[in-house]
Amino acid sequence: MAAHPTRRVVLAAAATLPLAAASGCDGVDVLAAPPRPAPDVGQLRAAISAEQLMVARYAAVLASATGAVAAALRPLLAEHQAHLAQLRSRLIVPAGSPTPPPRPPAGRPAVPSAPGAAVAFLREAEQAAAAALLGRLPQAPASLAQLFASIAASEATHVPVLGAVAGQ
């Protein structure tokens, strides 16, 4: 279709460079001052930690869940894992940075042992996680705010799913 696809690709790539440089998140100018963490890095790290906790909680509940409960929880866990991967892909840590990327919490988080209580616990955790992300919107840059809002919406849709599981 395009007459000069290669040239178009080059032009498109060049067009993104000023934007990336202006954002100041991972400049390639070796003579510039050492990169400082962008103001949104703290928001992103907190969101990553929260998502890691949700993944760990689902894994802990699934470790003893069976049947219909396990079948309902697995797709929700997969969505949290997708959230976590997408959030991590947005985090660019400069080489030699004093703060390493967030690491998963050591050990298994405490979750109720009874299946009904465990599902209710996850339901409340989803509501809290979605609310926390909405609270991060004012300080987040535009693209990160959109990701936070989308993840919060996904977590909000988990709430009625878990409510239906608990009612079984």
């Binding site: 993104t16 460079l17 990336a20 440089a21 954002s23 998140c25 991972d26 400049g27 390639v28 797709p75 929700l76 997969a78 969505e79 997708a82 959230h83 997408q86 892909s89 947005r90 660019i92 979605a130 909405l134 919107l137 004012p138 840059p141 535009a142 693209s143 705010a145 959109q146 990701l147 936070f148 809002a149 989308s150 993840i151 919060a152 919406a153 996904s154 909000a156 849709t157 988990h158 009625p160 799913v161």
Partner: protein, 153 residues
């Protein structure tokens, strides 16, 4: 972030885009409901009313900012042919996904109140979409290209 004003052209444009999506949703749900019966039709009617309320809210937000709200089109070309309940359900999912995407545009503006309003509407659309779809998705409203685009230079 740039120094865009709280009621600058980005906010007006995002509000107009969300309003256009709501106009299309109001039209689309008329078709959805007409092809459903029973409780599914009742759900479609409730969702239709929700989109009318959201449309009116967006029009008020635009007028309060001195902007003329975009009008609904006389007709809309549907993205799918709708003759059966299954096709009506598929259309409802498409409508809600598009509405969620439009409201994510509002989440990108600088005005905090509009961001929150947009995010709440993304949630509402995602909940309706999940009910029609019968399952959830990881990133309501976000397109594959938005997810694939890393911020690296």
């Amino acid at each position: 972030m740039s120094g865009r004003g709280a009621t600058g052209p980005d906010a007006i444009g995002a509000l107009q885009a969300a309003l256009a999506a709501e106009h299309a949703a109001v039209y689309g749900y008329g078709v959805v409901g007409a092809n459903l019966t029973g409780s599914a039709r009742a759900t479609a009617t409730a969702d239709w009313v929700n989109h009318q309320v959201a449309r009116d809210r967006l029009e008020a937000l635009l007028r309060s900012r001195g902007a003329q709200p975009v009008a609904a089109a006389v007709g809309y070309q549907l993205p799918v042919t709708v003759r059966t309940p299954a096709e009506a359900t598929a259309l409802a999912v498409i409508i809600e996904d598009r509405v969620a995407t439009a409201y994510l545009g509002l989440v990108a503006v600088t005005a905090t109140a509009l961001r929150r309003f947009g995010a709440v509407q993304v949630q509402a659309a995602a909940l309706r979409a999940a009910a029609w779809r019968g399952s959830t998705v990881a990133f309501p409203g976000l397109t594959a290209s938005a997810l694939a685009a890393p911020r690296r230079a």
